[in-house]
């Protein structure tokens, strides 16, 4: 990791494990909508397809994924809200 993980302040956290497309993507999108630019959202996702869908749509909507932590069967994704 090139970024210092200690400096990251998580504003909000959601757990989408067990949810299927498009709900994980939709919950991430709507949670980000209510946050301010620069704030950080932590999303817990099942591994595989949800990670693909959420990362693609997050990027398209102008937010930035700043870290990914992988666990057994799920991932934690940190997203910084864009403009």
């Amino acid at each position: 990791m090139k970024e210092n993980r200690e400096t990251l302040d998580i504003t909000k956290s959601i757990d989408t494990c067990g949810e299927v497309c498009p709900m994980n993507m939709a919950r991430t999108k709507f949670t980000l909508k209510e946050m301010a630019t620069g704030e950080i959202l932590e999303v817990v996702l099942d591994e595989g397809e949800p990670v693909r869908n959420v990362s693609r749509s997050t990027k398209e909507e102008g937010h930035r994924i700043i870290r990914l932590e992988r666990f057994n069967g799920f991932v934690k994704m940190l997203i910084q809200k864009g403009e």
């Binding site: 990791m1 970024e3 990670v51 693609r56 990027k59």
Partner: protein, 284 residues
């Protein structure tokens, strides 16, 4: 209409499919990539009521047929639908209607414009006579929604990814999302195994810092796919060729098929019989 007056031109190149009911035909249309304009659909609805029994059949290959057209109305329905640029389709030993997904014109995953490729193929080859049926499908990415593997000649859009180390933050998202296990991230350094890559572009579209970029866009080609009684998937024989190369290879493939096929043989069986290497030598 007597047999002498019958519209032989309409019947001989296919497109009017004989029904089990006497003197009734299903009128098949020339549809490319499943695209139909709303105004054409209105005209089709009217034609189905005027010349058919009021219903329309959607074929398994994105085609449209108006069933229950009487022999006497064959010419009328044809002329009527030509006014909205809906032309007669084909059947029999010919190059069939070209299938395509929407690709990058609509789909977030699409890497190329398969509709454009399908239109160009249709313009050049539609209904051309060959030893047996010859089906072509163009799909916008390796997800293969337009089922190129089930077609005699399959085309799959793809991108060759390239990693830029100075933009990478080492988040390892690309490793997580790659379905082919072609990417490994260790201590912020990416190792990419191109042999495993299927050119889907997921690493490029998901990378948060655009450290994965498109090195080349092209088409992967499959030969010999078919369903029916003796189904087999098409076999990948060329990777990421350009559009110009694609048309050269398709041209040579049709020449190869006309020259090498036994009577009534699908191209997949021809390739099975003479060998993939012989085929590749002829077309690449």
């Amino acid at each position: 209409m007597s047999e002498k007056q019958m519209d032989y031109d309409s019947l001989k190149t296919g497109g009017f499919m004989r029904q089990r009911q006497k003197d009734l035909f299903a009128f098949r249309l020339r549809i490319v990539g499943g695209r139909v304009e709303a105004s054409q659909l209105r005209a089709l609805a009217d034609a189905a009521e005027e010349y058919g029994d009021g219903h329309i059949h959607l074929t398994t290959r994105q085609g449209i047929e108006v069933p229950f057209v009487h022999l006497d109305n064959v010419q009328s329905i044809r002329k009527n639908l030509e006014k909205v640029r809906l032309h007669k389709g084909t059947c029999g030993p010919r190059i069939r209607g070209v299938m395509a997904c929407q690709g990058d014109t609509v789909c977030p995953r699409g890497l190329v414009d398969p509709q454009d490729i399908a239109r160009k193929i249709d313009e050049k080859y539609f209904a051309m006579g060959v030893p047996h049926k010859f089906k072509i499908s163009v799909t916008g990415c390796p997800a293969s929604c337009a089922k190129p593997q089930e077609n005699d000649f399959g085309i799959i859009g793809g991108v060759d990814p390239k990693w830029l180390d100075y933009l990478c933050i080492g988040c390892s998202l690309c490793q997580e999302i790659c379905r082919k296990d072609a990417i490994v991230v260790e201590d912020g350094v990416v190792t990419f195994d191109r042999e495993k890559c299927d050119f889907c572009g997921d690493c490029i579209s998901s990378c948060p810092t655009d450290a994965w970029v498109i090195d080349k866009t092209g088409f992967t080609l499959l030969i010999g796919g078919k369903v029916g009684r003796f189904p087999q998937f098409g076999v990948n024989f060329a990777e990421l060729v350009s559009e110009t190369e694609l048309f050269e290879i398709l041209d040579k493939t049709i020449q190869f098929y006309n020259k090498m096929a036994l009577k009534g043989e699908r191209v997949g069986d021809t390739v099975n019989r003479v060998g993939m290497e012989t085929f590749k030598k002829a077309v690449l």
